[in-house]
Amino acid sequence: MTTTSASVDNGVNVAALLEAREALSEAPEAAKFQWRATCKWVNGTHSNTTIQSFFGLGEEQSHRTEFSYDADHPELFASADIGATPVEMVLVGLASCLTAGIAAVAQHRGIQLKSVSATLEGGMDVQGILGIDSDVRNGFDGIKVHYDIDADASEDDIKALVAQSQKRSAVFDIVTNPTNVTVEVN
């Protein structure tokens, strides 16, 4: 029973996703992906990160083109403010992951989306990163996400859509659960 109805089009190819899911559950090795980023320091707090290759389905893959991101800090931190701060980029990741999920789940559930917008707020006490108070953590003390969604569905169905998207989101998992990070030099 697939609830996708022909009239609903959120631009998500659910049939292809379900096919991939089936294929990968038969061949779990192919489901092992690796995502990559390459970062170069430019000057001051300004760095540039590029994204192009990744690994998946058992072989090297590549984006259609190279994507480039400048990160920096605002002027009040005595920086040049050439790009968004890295923590804002975490919000970019979370927002885009949840939003993509909402579109996919809506398509699967036969819900036509008309508009979806999200506002994210990550609270942070910078006493942590500045080393003023060791009891204050460096990262966000919490993230608030607010969605405004206009869709052909009841309020509860829309809430369920957003809840399901969180359940399946990679970035939501990354920010809500610990991850081992190994950093090597040279």
Binding site: P28, D141, D156, A163, Q164, F172
Partner: protein
């Protein structure tokens, strides 16, 4: 020794199958490592009652006839129910006979036991779905000073040291044990992952009555959209208690149990919890609401609104503003961790390559991927009710029919 069929396990499933085979005059034997209803007798906690009401307790040609149809059986009552059944159906049971290995040998199965060997054409695995507690790998990183216990070993709070208890898991087991341990004066912190919330009584009827009436429990495995996910849904937060009350996270919070997110790991003497608590609660609240809406629509459709109580809605699960993500086990005086993180079957005796990569038997509605071999009593085996006592009836009837025709084909 030879027989047409060996049934492994004399629990409700094995007994139901024995009855169905006897009806078909198929000679068989039921091998039981201990006593009838052994798991219920020796591997469950003292206060446990069935999650299904007595009127639902039914096995092939046998049903509950007691005075409390709306009540929930205690373990002694269930054991008595099953022992009487074994007697009534004259099941050919070999007690205290542990199966040590089963292998396939050219269309036959060789069953080695602690009391002799058997050869048979067909085999029914009815050894249960809950033989071992399933403990996540992160348990290895828990501080060694803390005692760990599983529901298989737990009997009552008196077993535990005085002091705090971290209960991991929020299905029926986790909630029931969190409540009784907290009431014993050992403050409980409950780590909550994905869960299923249900009211015990809705519009004056047991939730199992509604599931039955709406045909939800009859839904077949081959009609379900995503059977893998269906088979992994945690057991609903229910308790069978004399007051027929609803056990949910809000009730625990009101008693002072602290809710935390899913346990993510341990680091430096601290437990780390996921930041997803709000969402797993929202998912469960919304899913329950969908079921209640479905029930209400069904009632209206049938025109029986006047015969049942009016619709009811429940408060959303209360989650504190910022649930702590870390807990210092030492400072918080946590002495025990109870892993209510599910159960696994034990197929270590099965020397036939029928297990999938998760250690579960590969089967199609109980017909195992090895000719003449059958499985009973696991979640969503053939129907949503398959893992319940009364679920064994239809499953055993269906599979005994298949088994019988398999034996006929062997003859021919």
């Amino acid at each position: 020794m030879r027989t047409s069929c060996v049934i492994v396990g004399a629990g409700h499933s094995g007994l139901a199958m024995s009855r169905c085979l006897s009806e078909r005059s198929i000679d068989h034997v039921v091998l039981e490592r201990g006593e009838v209803a052994n798991s219920w007798k020796h591997e469950r906690w003292d206060s446990l009652r069935l999650l299904t009401p007595n009127w639902q307790a039914r096995l092939p040609d046998y049903s509950y006839t007691g005075k409390d149809p709306d009540g929930y059986m205690t373990m002694p009552e269930l054991i008595d129910f099953l022992e009487k059944y074994a007697e009534v159906i004259s099941a050919p049971i070999k007690l205290n006979t542990t199966v040590t290995s089963v292998s396939a040998d050219g269309g036959k199965y060789r069953v080695a036991t602690t009391r002799g060997n058997w050869e048979c054409k067909s085999l029914v695995v009815a050894s249960g779905a809950c033989n071992r507690a399933s403990i996540p790998a992160i348990a290895e990183a828990a501080p060694t000073s803390i005692e760990m216990i599983t529901p298989m070993q737990y009997r009552n709070p008196g077993q535990l040291q005085e002091g705090g208890v971290l209960v991991v898991g929020a299905s029926a087991t986790g909630l029931q044990l969190a409540e009784e341990i907290h009431r014993s004066g050992r403050p409980v912190t409950l780590a909550v992952g994905e869960h299923v919330r249900l009211p015990r009584i809705y519009r004056g009827k047991d939730i199992q009555w509604w599931m039955d009436a709406l045909g939800i429990m009859e839904e077949r495995y081959d009609e379900i959209d995503d059977i893998v996910r269906g088979r992994n849904i945690p057991s609903p937060q229910l308790v069978g208690s004399p007051d027929r009350s609803t056990l949910d996270l809000n009730r625990l919070t009101a008693q002072g149990v602290r809710l935390r997110g899913r346990l993510a790991g341990f680091n430096d003497g601290k437990a780390q919890f996921s930041g997803s608590l709000r969402n797993v609660c929202a998912l469960a609240d919304l899913k329950m609401l969908r079921l209640l809406n479905t029930i209400d629509e069904w009632v209206t459709e049938k025109g029986i609104d006047a015969e049942v109580n009016p619709p009811q809605r429940y408060d959303d699960t209360e989650v504190e503003e910022s649930p702590p993500l870390l807990m210092d086990l030492g400072k918080d005086d946590i002495k025990t961790i109870l892993w209510a993180t599910g159960y696994n079957p034990d197929y270590s005796w099965l020397d036939i390559p029928v297990l999938d990569r998760k250690g579960k038997i590969r089967h199609d509605g109980g017909v195992v991927d090895s000719p003449g071999m059958y499985l009973l009593g696991t979640t969503l085996l053939r129907r949503r009710k398959s893992s319940f006592i009364h679920g064994a009836e239809d499953d055993a009837r269906d599979l005994s029919r298949h088994l019988s025709s398999y034996l006929d084909d062997c003859e021919a």
